[in-house]
């Protein structure tokens, strides 16, 4: 499987303020940042604060003279920036105003609506179809893992399965869902993947 990366032209468009590229960038990394933070921060507001501050710093750096030396490591830069913001958040968690008092930067005003209404409906139907095709036992396992959030060892013991069973169950469900998800997400803008590689 070919390694995919963001390239120099993509970064240049970000620096230049190209709206489509900025929109893709924020949507793409917002989801990853939220997944990263949900296991570390329990407050949705805190997650949102860190997410926004991460983008503030990333855009500030991109538009400065420093920028980033290796455009292909844009993702790593976003990740490390998020780590730094998170660390500062931990340190100053008692001082709630530490992030709010920051001077407002020019962050793209993108409303992060990951999925349009129609696409959301189609994905809901697909997930419903996948769940309906699962044996009752597997549906119950998914309910107890993700909805009831029971201890996974307890779930495995009760259902007579091991941890790998959970992973394979999730993997197979994802494989069934992924094609529709990819179609709904649409192709990346030019320069952000193999479809648009210059």
């Amino acid at each position: 499987m070919q390694f995919q990366s963001f390239d120099e032209s993509y970064v240049e468009r970000l620096r230049a303020g190209d709206f489509r590229t900025q929109e893709h960038f924020v949507v793409y990394f917002s989801e990853l940042i939220q997944l990263k933070l949900r296991s570390r921060l329990h407050s949705p507001q805190a997650i949102e604060d860190v997410r926004q501050e991460t983008f503030v710093r990333v855009f500030t750096t991109l538009r400065s003279d420093r920028s980033i030396r290796q455009p292909e490591r844009l993702g790593a830069f976003v990740n490390s920036t998020c780590n730094n913001v998170l660390l500062e958040y931990y340190r100053s968690s008692s001082r709630h105003s530490s992030l709010e008092d920051e001077e407002e930067k020019d962050v793209p005003a993108v409303v992060v609506d990951f999925v349009g209404a129609v696409a959301a409906k189609q994905m809901e139907e697909k997930v419903r179809e996948i769940l309906a095709e699962l044996p009752e036992k597997d549906r119950r396992i998914l309910r107890e893992v993700f909805l009831e959030e029971r201890d996974k060892d307890d779930i495995c013991r009760d259902f007579g399965v091991d941890r790998d069973y959970l992973r394979v169950l999730l993997h197979r469900a994802k494989q069934s869902f992924k094609a529709l998800y990819l179609k709904q997400m649409g192709p990346p803008p030019p320069g952000a993947g193999p479809a648009g590689k210059v």
């Binding site: 296991s39 990740n79 549906r139 993700f146 959970l166 999730l170």
Partner: protein, 222 residues
Amino acid sequence: MDHDEAIRQKAPEKYLLDELDPGIREQFEEHLFQCQDCALDVRATATFIEQSKIILAEKPVEVQARAAAPASSGWLAWFRPAIAAPVFAMLLIVVAYQNLVTVPHLSQAANTPHLLTATSINLMTYGSNPSPVSVHAGTGFLLNVIVPPGAHFSSYKADLFNPAGGVELSLAIPTSAEDTWPIEVPAAERQSGTYKLVVHGIAADGKEVEVGRSSFELQVQK
């Protein structure tokens, strides 16, 4: 962590199940932010999980009602063309192979004369048979079992025990005037070691009486 390692470790699934150790999680996140394939995997799975939570939280009857339709077809679902056709195709291939290859080969092997390694087992003596039996792996051998004279039983039972103590074979032998029984031990994968033959006479009332036992060394050549 590179992409192959992430897939090999099922890192995307473990990440969303919160099963990664902190150090591994950080390594995977560093890779995740760089790799669009893994990012797609994780995002798709996360979306699936979020949707599943909504659907699974609905009243159970709604999910079960949808599931009832396919469940009621049960074993009949196996006869759907999408399943039955490839299954029958496979069965035809297996039958054809057995008829054209396996059976003729076995038939030829069965009809071809060949020498059997043989040894004598004397139940009238104590201890083990001094001569080891040497056979090629997967082949049978012959035991010429010498029985004590004078015993009168309605039938006999010979049990061959392998080195692990399990019964390798059990043979019912009708009453016989012969004092030597040629017992062919069929071809099979066996291990080297000490094998033990125990013969019981079965009286008219069904009681079993040990007639004799002896052991021998089997050497399997690979």
